[in-house]
């Protein structure tokens, strides 16, 4: 409860500071926030865009939060995301089974690859004492350049493009994606304004996978002996070792699960939104945003769900002020930074609660 209040107060501070920066730059904060609000919620397709945008953020946020709960700082969600995405697009293009087999198969294999990739950092920490922050940073770059290399493999590369071939139709988790561009679909949608708008973005089943992941992670952390031991290792490695918990194994397992969650993020992104992988000049920021999501959600699975949607909405609506007001959308980055900054110093809010107590 206290953590929730701190997050809420931090978000308010984030908006205040974002407003201040806008004001100093000669842009009306009220106008900007109004544009953002309308840009986020005034049309059905905005909402579905936000859901689509939030899906990978919830999953990478969950990934980072899970690692945090076990005492690990996974900066490598970015690289694990890339591995998941790359595997999904590779297999989604090369395999072509019936969707009932294809989708779970591709999803599971992509998740496994990312899980191994994340687990590598855990293993290096457990076995060689290499700090996970260092190894995951290195692995992020290795994943990025490896993905760029893979995109250019003949037969996988889309001729003359800096992208891979599209995945087979059977791999898609898009919701009614074929129907909505068919004659029947177009006709039905033209008569139903709400759905026509809502279905415009690449609506896909990823959000349901993310919801399931949130629940599963919550159960693991709160209801299972396995989660109990992971948390024990996170809180106190020495006490866990003394109590007979294999801490090295737990560190590796925790990073594998964390990696798997980021891998699912990458896989759902390819299977539901992008349908292929492109050459990257720099990191897209899913992993970094995942850190923000985890921190704002105070590492609680349901908190992450909320903060994932919040960040998705913020990032989506932030684009609108660029196009409408010519105000830099990077104010969103400043706001996120400010929110996390205040989350880092919960003691700053103590005076708020104190003065409340004194003068109710």
């Amino acid at each position: 409860m206290k953590k929730f209040i701190i997050s809420a107060l931090s978000i308010i501070m984030g908006f205040l500071i974002g407003g201040l920066v806008l004001k100093l730059s000669g842009i009306s904060p009220l106008e900007a926030y109004q544009v953002m609000w309308e840009g986020a919620f005034s049309q059905p397709n905005y909402i579905s865009y936000i859901i689509v945008r939030s899906t990978p953020l919830i999953l990478t946020g969950l990934s980072v939060a899970f690692a945090f709960r076990t005492g690990l700082f996974n900066i490598g969600a970015e690289g694990q995301f890339i591995i998941g995405a790359l595997t999904a697009s590779y297999l989604g293009f090369h395999f072509n089974f019936s969707p009932w087999i294809q989708i779970p198969l591709v999803m599971i294999l992509a998740t496994m690859m990312a899980s191994l990739y994340g687990g590598l950092s855990g293993f290096m920490k457990a076995r060689f004492g290499v700090h996970e922050v260092l190894s995951t940073i290195m692995l992020n770059w290795i994943a990025l350049y490896f993905s760029n290399y893979a995109v250019f493999i003949d037969g996988f590369r889309r001729p003359n493009m800096e992208t891979t071939e599209f995945i087979n139709e059977s791999t898609s988790i898009g919701i009614l994606s074929k129907w909505k561009v068919s004659d029947a679909g177009l006709e039905w949608l033209s008569n139903h304004e709400f759905w026509s708008s809502f279905m415009r973005p690449p609506v896909n089943a990823g959000i349901f996978i993310a919801l399931i992941a949130v629940i599963v992670v919550w159960i693991i952390l709160n209801k299972t002996a396995f989660g109990y031991k992971l948390k024990a290792v996170g809180f106190s490695p020495a006490a866990s070792e003394y109590a007979g918990i294999n801490t090295k194994m737990k560190v590796t397992q925790a990073m594998m699960i964390s990696g798997a969650l980021s891998g699912i993020a990458g896989a759902t992104h390819v299977m539901g939104v992008s349908n292929n992988v492109a050459v990257l000049a720099a990191h897209e920021g899913y992993g970094f945003d995942g850190i923000a999501v985890a921190l704002i959600g105070s590492n609680n699975p349901f908190g992450v769900l909320f903060s994932g949607f919040f960040l998705g909405a913020l990032k989506y609506s932030g684009q609108k002020i660029q196009s409408t007001l010519e105000a830099p959308s990077e104010v969103i980055g400043i706001m996120i930074g400010a929110i996390i900054f205040f989350i880092a110093i919960p003691s700053i809010f103590n005076f708020v609660t104190k003065s409340w107590r004194k003068n109710p």
């Binding site: 992020n140 290795i142 923000a292 990077e330 104010v331 930074g337």
Partner: protein
């Protein structure tokens, strides 16, 4: 022989921003404050340096501005960490978001919505001597100064004591907070200059992808160099060398290595070295407390 010269000078070029930034990390962490926000300080510094160099027509003022920009962010981190006893890792992450957010935000404000600054004319860049930018020499001089400060001066002894045993320092009448502020602020200054040494020396403008992870690599170099200024210098040179190697090998004609695979080399090498040679860590005892 020319090839050796090429490797050598490319190594120095790539190492320089890392040396500044990693030394910044050393200053902060030796005083006891974790600084994971180097990346953000570098980014903001790179932008500020570029902006001032363009508007003032003076690269030295630009470099100074880069340092000051880093200090501004470092000040936030310092207040959070020292005054409010923040979670320093979280606060550092906040600085990373703030740094890149502020840099691109102001870039768009000052340069008509563009996310990169216009290129600097050659004569407005940091000048070069003997085929190397002046910042390269400065980086080595700064290393020397920090080594000297740590080993010979009162300031250095007190700064290290603040990071090793703040209670002991406090009991000895030392103002621990002062030395920690000094450590964190100087780390911001150095990281900002590190960013500037990229945007107004090695390349000639600021762009959003300019830093892309170098702050974190500097952090790795600092740990690899065991928080020791000279060790850190060599760690940065090693990393610069492996990047130079990428350029060098990539320059061979008819070589059948994908440039993308080759680009992973510095990171793979670093990982191998971390796995193979990461002995006992020697982090300051009170780091993060």
């Amino acid at each position: 022989m020319n090839e050796m010269m090429f490797l050598f000078s490319t190594t120095l070029m790539y190492s320089t921003p890392l040396i500044f930034t990693a030394l910044g990390g050393v200053m902060s962490e030796k005083s006891g404050v974790i600084n994971i926000g180097l990346e953000g300080m570098m980014t903001f510094g790179a932008f500020a340096a570029s902006w001032v160099a363009i508007t003032q027509n003076n690269p030295w003022l630009g470099l100074l501005a880069g340092g000051i920009a880093g200090v501004l962010l470092a000040f936030l981190h310092a207040v959070a960490s020292i005054k409010f006893k923040a979670n320093q890792v979280v606060s550092g992450m906040a600085i990373n978001f703030l740094g890149s957010g502020l840099a691109i935000f102001f870039c768009r404000i000052f340069f008509d919505g563009a996310s990169m600054t216009p290129p600097l004319d050659l004569e407005k860049k940091i000048p070069a001597f003997f085929n190397q930018y002046a910042t390269v020499y400065i980086a080595f001089i700064v290393t020397l100064i920090i080594w000297f400060t740590f080993n010979k001066t009162r300031f250095g002894l007190r700064l290290i004591s603040a990071g090793e045993h703040p209670k002991a320092s406090g009991a000895a009448g030392i103002n621990v907070a002062f030395y920690r502020y000094a450590g964190v602020l100087s780390s911001g200054f150095l990281a900002g200059i590190g960013g500037g040494s990229l945007s107004i020396a090695i390349v000639s403008n600021f762009r959003p992808t300019l830093i892309s992870g170098q702050g974190f690599i500097a952090l790795a170099a600092m740990i690899f160099g065991k928080w020791n200024p000279v060790g850190t210098l060599f760690a940065c040179l090693f990393f610069g060398f492996s990047q130079a190697l990428v350029v060098f090998i990539g320059g061979f004609e008819g070589l059948q290595v994908s440039s993308q695979l080759l680009a992973t080399l510095p990171y793979v090498l670093t990982l191998i070295i971390l796995v193979g040679f990461m002995g006992k860590t020697t982090a300051p005892s009170a780091l993060g407390q």
